[in-house]
Amino acid sequence: MSVDFRDIQRDFMARIRTESTPEPPLGIEARRLGVYRELMFNNVSGFVDSGFPVLRRLTDPAQWHRLKRRFFAFHDCASPLFVDIAREFVRFLALGQHLEGLEPLPPWALDLAEYEYLELAVDTLDEVQDQPPLATPEAVLTGPLALYRATRLGQYDYPVQRLGAECPRVDPDPTHLLVYRKLDDRVGFVELNGISARLLTMLSEAPGQDAQALITPLSEALPDLPTEQVAQGGGQLLLQMAALGIVRGYRKG
């Protein structure tokens, strides 16, 4: 009775994934197993690199390499789509269970990875065809509203949007970033304060409310501020969001 071919496959995959150079299986040249190890790691590695350009840039190259090796060895990616490798990498970082023994990443690394992934995720969201932008931004003050579906709100402990070659580290500061598909189809983001983020979250959870209905509970939640000031601030935010196409008119589905 010969060995189950599926066990041969599982063994082969395990030897391809493992971090340190393994013994080749019986009858296979080490050099040829090495070809698979290199080709397959490099392929996944390329997708991680292109998904996280800023995190990659701000991480020591050898450390970045070890991190990707660990990802390839231990994280089981379930999706057949290459574009989902980035999502799996964020999950790998967030779970953290396989990071043992590696140099710790900066405290903002996971936030940054999540933000970089969010940009990719928004880019590939389904096309929204039933939410045309408002005819004029001012219309936002009069009718029932909805949050454009091609947007995602990210909440972070660090201002990760500032990170880059010129800004290699940041201090903690609660940060709300709204990533959205712009009117020209490219992906953009806006930084929001906590109150604005709350207003837009309310809108996304209960579409169909008008400006008044959105702003009233805010005044109640902010008793220290004059109602008029809250109303004005809320109105300005909605106008600004309408101009960007983030807040749109509500249509009964």
């Binding site: 010969s2 189950d4 071919f5 041969i8 496959q9 082969f12 391809i16 296979i28 040829r32 057949p80």
Partner: protein
Amino acid sequence: MIQGAGIGLRREMVAELAEGAIPDAVGFMEVAPENWLKVSPRLRRQFSEIAERCPIVCHGLSLSIGAPAPLDEGFVCQVKGFLDTHDIEIYSEHLSYCSGNAHLYDLMPIPFTEAAVAHVVERVKRVQEILERPLVLENVSYYAAPGAEMTELEFLNAVLDEADCELLLDVNNVYVNSVNHGYDPVAFMAALPTHRIRYLHIAGHHREAEDLIIDTHGADVIDPVWALLDSAYQLHGVHPTLLERDFNLPPMAQLLTEVDQIVSIQRRFDQNRSVAAGRASA
């Protein structure tokens, strides 16, 4: 129906092709559905525009037809949706696997055994049932043959025959494997069933060592592979043939010189055939 010579449609080319003309020499284009199932609306629109003007074939990467894990039927349904949306007739995949309990995103060699043949055959049938199309399987390049109990040729022919599916004959892979595993590439091709061949692939590769070639699709096609394309036409007749180029992508004009070369070889065979036919009727 596809005919003539084709190229792989890469994202880098899309903007240029969506706005401009599709070069005359390009008879069809090939895409990996995995790269187009989840894209920005802009890319999706550009793709649709191209697909309306040029026949498209799908050449998948992640089906993992020989995997030790269950077939991902949800994914097969997604592919079917894509094929139907864009009116794509041909879906080819690799006689290979790229996943077990996890996706590894590249091709590994299925152990050449009777049990693996039976496993693959059952899965091919299921895929064909869901897709309502024949599955076209490609002979893949491989660098090692773990667990082999028969030859690659025996394995390939057994799968094609028992699954009753079609063949994407990759001429470059035949060449790569003939060097990597020491066999006669022409004899290998001669033993393949002509009636199952749907289309051909040709590509460049990287020579790592005297006895080891890596199938990179990152270089120009070399002369021995062109000669093998000639042999393939001689043995099995002229079939639509696609140039694969995935890395070190040259400008379109340069890519087209290789496409032209495919077309000119095809013409030569067609002319010879019509001359022979003329002689026969004279």
